[in-house]
């Protein structure tokens, strides 16, 4: 049943091998076409899977079932504990299949135009295929260890794609930073996996997350430092998710990751990989809710603080991709908060559904924003806002689609962001008024910084002089923009609670107009302020920056998080931990080995003399030996 889902995984993997091995022998456009064609097949299959799952075979008895069309045992560790590789279909993985394949396909098409003429075009497409494979494998993982494997694979492909321009030192530094930071967080993830599997004797999501499953059914009394081991494990697993999803304090890699090609930012650092953390928490949600509710609270607060922090920083950045990066951090933090405030089952699980809904809509409009930014960068050859202005006359399609995405992320109906953000705000309001206030304020900031971006790119100085007159991007770049803009307009109307819910039982939602009204109000306030400040060039932004000087400067420097991390790693860890370890390694470990080799050397030099090569010396020894033997034989 549904075994064709295996093709969704295998095809990108084969495409990666094919393009990676034979890519250099074919023309760039051929390689690009192959990659895009492969992804098209994957996308079609994903849609077929989704349609089949949601409308014909997924639901029995009013609840969605988990279907495992394919599963093989890969590694057996003990009698009960084994690592499988397989495909698991349930509402969230099917939704993720759609998100990943759609955005990936759009990015493939878009890159045909954007990356045209770049060196390593074939390599680029091979790596995109690798990423698609890893991400698809991550979302359909049947067990937490398979997820971890693909989790690392997306990390690696993200690393290679950020460092795609490997001759640029900043890109290399950014790729290393992204890899090391996420890898550091993944260390905690691995420890969490080991702890949880040690106590539950299983890796399978099915038994881990069922409310009566192996770990929740028989509560474990074991505690560590006064907190139950489940809470510890779930916290560690969340740290892994926080690393990938750029939650505080692991967010530092995401703004730097913008050094990669813009379509990569759209695919990996906006729509798919960075929401892996959200997906992880959603996947493990019953375990969080029943096993570690205290951790869920922490998650909610981390999310809210990150959302606020990133929104404030986004208001001050001038690199358009960095604004979008901080906006991504902020929106992912929204999703995380929504999961943190969610309950389990039915109406109480609104936050869970809202989080997935926001993930779904955000993927499309944020990818759209990035691709529009890429379109602008493609034309202007700069990331800085100061080099832009008045582009709406030259780039009408980019302008309109960017506006649609801005309205969507600001939460203006009828665009998709409004619906999902409204659900998140309702869920937060029901749980904790403080979190609601935080998110509500963020919503206003979001509208403000998005429209600041919009006005500074497309309005502002109307008569700005460019080196050569800007023009609209080619069709293979604008078609994905239009398609994603269309999705942004319609995805809000998907009856998402009918498809995804925390206990897989569909429920009804309706728009809470009191809260929706408030959120529209704050969005309009934000947009109005941005309009006043940035629509025409004036000195209000400058005056504001002067009035709130200290705050503005620290926000501009991202509240010095990079410097703090740098201080911790360089001054504290390197000096006090790494250096003694390095000394021990160099002098004790290496010293012992060097002693062994040099003493062998010494002895061999001493006994080398015996083997002189002089035939007569040998004969002398031979005769003397023979004589001694004879004497012994005769007289002893």
């Amino acid at each position: 049943m549904m075994s064709y889902t295996l093709i969704i995984l295998i095809l990108p993997a084969l495409m990666f091998l094919f393009l990676g091995l034979c890519g250099s022998k074919m023309k760039p456009v051929v390689a690009g076409t192959f990659g895009t064609f492969g992804l098209t097949v994957v996308t079609v299959l994903s849609y077929v899977t989704a349609a089949t799952y949601f409308f014909s075979i997924g639901k029995t008895g009013g609840a969605y079932q988990t279907i495992i069309p394919f599963n093989v045992e890969w590694l057996r560790i003990t009698e009960k504990l084994h690592i499988d590789l397989g495909i698991m279909l349930d509402p969230i993985s099917v939704v993720m299949l759609i998100v990943v394949s759609t955005v990936s396909l759009m990015v493939h098409i878009y890159s045909l135009g954007y990356m045209k003429g770049e060196r390593g075009f074939q390599r680029y497409y091979a790596l995109l295929s690798l990423f698609s494979f890893s991400m698809l494998g991550l979302v359909v993982a049947t067990n937490i260890f398979q997820m971890y494997i693909f989790w690392e694979l997306v990390g690696v492909s993200s690393y290679t794609l950020i460092g795609f321009y490997y001759t640029k030192p900043s890109a290399v530094a950014a790729s290393k930073k992204a890899f090391i930071v996420t890898r550091f967080a993944d260390l905690f993830f691995l420890i969490g996996i080991l702890v949880i599997s040690f106590y539950s004797q299983t890796f399978d999501f099915a038994s881990l997350t069922s409310p009566t499953g192996s770990i929740l059914g028989q509560p474990i009394g074991a505690t560590f430092m006064g907190v139950s081991v489940i809470s510890w494990a779930m916290m560690l697993i969340f740290i892994g998710g926080a690393g990938k999803s750029a939650m505080m304090p692991f967010h530092i890699w995401l703004p730097d990751a913008m050094e990669g090609p813009t379509p990569v930012s759209a695919l990996i650092h906006a729509a798919t990989m960075v929401v892996a953390g959200v997906f992880l928490v959603a996947r493990m949600f019953p375990l969080y809710f029943f096993g570690a509710p205290d951790v869920l609270n922490i998650i909610a607060y981390i999310g809210a603080i990150t959302a606020l922090f990133a929104a404030i920083v986004a208001c001050t950045q001038t690199d358009i991709k960095r604004v979008l990066a901080f906006s991504t951090i902020s929106q992912i933090a929204y999703m995380i908060t929504a999961l943190g405030v969610s309950g389990y089952g039915g109406e109480a699980g609104l936050g869970y559904m809202a989080s997935m809904f926001h993930l779904f809509t955000h993927a499309f409009f944020k990818a759209l924003l990035f691709l529009c930014a890429g379109s602008v960068i493609h034309v202007i050859h700069s990331n800085e806002m100061d080099d832009m202005g008045g582009l709406r006359k030259y780039m009408p399609i980019t302008h309109i689609t960017f506006l649609v995405a801005c309205l969507s992320i600001s939460g203006i109906p009828p665009f998709s962001g409004f619906f999902s953000k409204d659900e998140i705000l309702v869920a937060a309001f029901n749980k904790d008024i403080l979190l609601f206030g935080c998110l509500y304020f963020c919503a206003g900031l979001t509208a403000f910084y998005m429209f600041r971006l919009y006005f500074r790119i497309f309005w502002g100085e109307n008569n700005k002089q460019y080196e050569h007159t800007p023009h609209e991007s080619p069709a293979n770049m604008t078609i994905p923009l239009i398609f994603l803009a269309a999705l942004t307009c319609i995805t809000g109307f998907v009856p998402f609670s009918q498809l995804v819910s925390s206990d897989f039982i569909p429920f009804q939602t309706h728009i809470e107009w009191s809260i929706a009204g408030l959120s529209i109000l704050v969005a309009i306030i934000g947009i109005t302020i941005a309009t006043v400040m940035y629509r025409k060039e004036n000195n209000i932004p400058h005056r504001v920056a002067v009035v709130a000087k200290g705050f503005y400067t620290s926000a501009y420097h991202k509240f010095y998080f990079d410097e703090i991390w740098f201080f911790i790693t360089k001054n504290i860890i390197f000096n006090n931990v790494s250096k003694p370890i390095a000394w021990f390694d160099r002098h004790i470990v290496d010293g012992f080995m060097n002693f062994l080799s040099s003493s062998t050397n010494f002895v061999s030099r001493k006994i080398k003399v015996v083997q002189s090569g002089e035939i007569q010396d040998y004969t002398w020894a031979f005769f003397m030996g023979a004589l001694v033997m004879i004497v012994l034989l005769i007289f002893v």
Binding site: G613, E614, I615, Q616, T619, W620, F623
Partner: protein, 104 residues
């Protein structure tokens, strides 16, 4: 003639043999070494013949073996001299302690 005692033959052969050993160890010239080698070989041949005469008179295995060993040593000497001549042509030297070009 037949009353020469066995010990006399063996004494001669022992002297020959140790003269050969001494020459082999003390000389540096390859040709002299080769000659010493022949001396040792001849001492052994002498022993074959003498023991044949005293232990199995009327049989000839020992004598034949002596002849056979002389033939082999002649062939061997021919080869050795050929090698020594070649070494001399190449190196202008046949001192065994100085010919060490191929040692390492």
């Amino acid at each position: 003639m037949s009353n020469i005692p066995l010990a006399a033959y063996l004494a001669v052969s022992t002297v020959m043999f140790f003269a050969g050993v001494y020459g082999f160890l003390s000389r540096r010239n390859m040709l002299t070494i080769l000659m010493s080698l022949e001396l040792m070989l001849n001492a052994a041949d002498l022993n074959f013949a003498v023991f044949n005469k005293y232990l199995y008179p009327g049989q000839f295995e020992g004598v034949f073996f002596t002849l056979f060993a002389i033939g082999v040593s002649a062939a061997e000497t021919a080869i050795a001299i050929a090698i020594i001549i070649n070494i001399y042509r190449n190196l202008r030297n046949i001192n065994v302690d100085e010919v060490n070009k191929m040692k390492f």
